[in-house]
Symmetry: C2
Amino acid sequence: MSDLKAKERPAGEKVISPAVIKRLPRYYRYLGDLLRNDVVRISSKELSRKMNVTASQIRQDLNNFGGFGQQGYGYNVEYLYNEIAKILGLNDRNNIIIIGAGNLGQALANNSDFIHNGFNIIGLFDVNPKVIGKKINGAEVYDIDRLEEFIAGHDVKIAALTLPKNSAVRIAGRLADLGVKAIWNFAPVDLNLPEDVIIENVHLSESIMTLSYRIHSSEI
Amino acid sequence: MSDLKAKERPAGEKVISPAVIKRLPRYYRYLGDLLRNDVVRISSKELSRKMNVTASQIRQDLNNFGGFGQQGYGYNVEYLYNEIAKILGLNDRNNIIIIGAGNLGQALANNSDFIHNGFNIIGLFDVNPKVIGKKINGAEVYDIDRLEEFIAGHDVKIAALTLPKNSAVRIAGRLADLGVKAIWNFAPVDLNLPEDVIIENVHLSESIMTLSYRIHSSEI
DNA sequence: TAGATTGTTAATCGATTAACAATC
DNA sequence: TAGATTGTTAATCGATTAACAATC
């Protein structure tokens, strides 16, 4: 049984570095802005000036996914924008549930940027009777006891955790058991789940601490 | 037991790489957890197992700031915890104002993690008469017109921007003019300010897009 | 065509990991 | 002491930048 776990990758399927992936949404945002300003074409040089990165990096990054440009011309803004949307999976139905309907959960549910990019909040969950039954931006807040039932009946792609850390750990395990494959974690804790569960952490405390570091070190 | 004082290091001129700085808050969090569990000492090897990083990286990272450990012993948890707090500037008075008292602004104001780490929300600002005058977790929501007056009278270290992007750009300029040196930006836009203004971005849309990418690419 | 700009290879730079002498 | 583990140097790995031939 030695080959059981062999992580085979289809020949030619390229592994993209995390550094590149993290930059894609920013390209996407700039291209969206250009598109809304009716800009038809842009060169890597011009984009590099706007974005404060090197033109070389832009070309290298994009060429991980394909040759989207044209020599002597640059890139067609609309075409490149759409290609990046495909790469990021924004054309799929990306249904999200939010566990924890406090201020942060509600803030996410009300965030129009997500909706504009193909993410749909299809429900929130909480234990607090005061918020259960409430509608937030069209999505209902359900009793957490109905989590299993709800997931069975819907195509849930992502679960956002906006909960205190102890409940977050507990619910994360429950979600993994239910087969949810991606967790967007806002709790200040690292979730240890089976490795096929995809986790994206937003650690606000860590973010503000790096800011504090920079203030502090610039004052010395 | 012998004394664990750090080796002295010529005052503050070493440039620390961003990669290292980003990891410090996570060390701090793990050490805090250990401390609350009454763990007295820990070796880089043991910590590396808990944190899923290499022991080598831990030692390299810490040695950017000083020799906090002891051969044959490891690191004293409480001592290291306090040293990292100093490095991160968490012992300073870190006053924060929040511009935008919507769900996200209120979520930040209610976040107890910040308070526990030396960050104080001393006021929120908004244009909406419905929230002006409200108190959130002890902090008042002021009319945005009183921003100048407030900053003149308080030691504001950080301004968090939880606003739509157009207002965020406008207010960021105003804050820079008022001498605020650090901005914690939640708006989906890059702020172009004088380079002495420290900016930390939290781009939630970009975060969820990288999650989407990973879901999408794992399904292929 | 002539100029512009890509796609891609090569060179450089930076970050991580390995190794081990120092030393508690 | 002997074993353990750091601090630090050296080796490796990965990411960024530079350069330029291909080509629109």
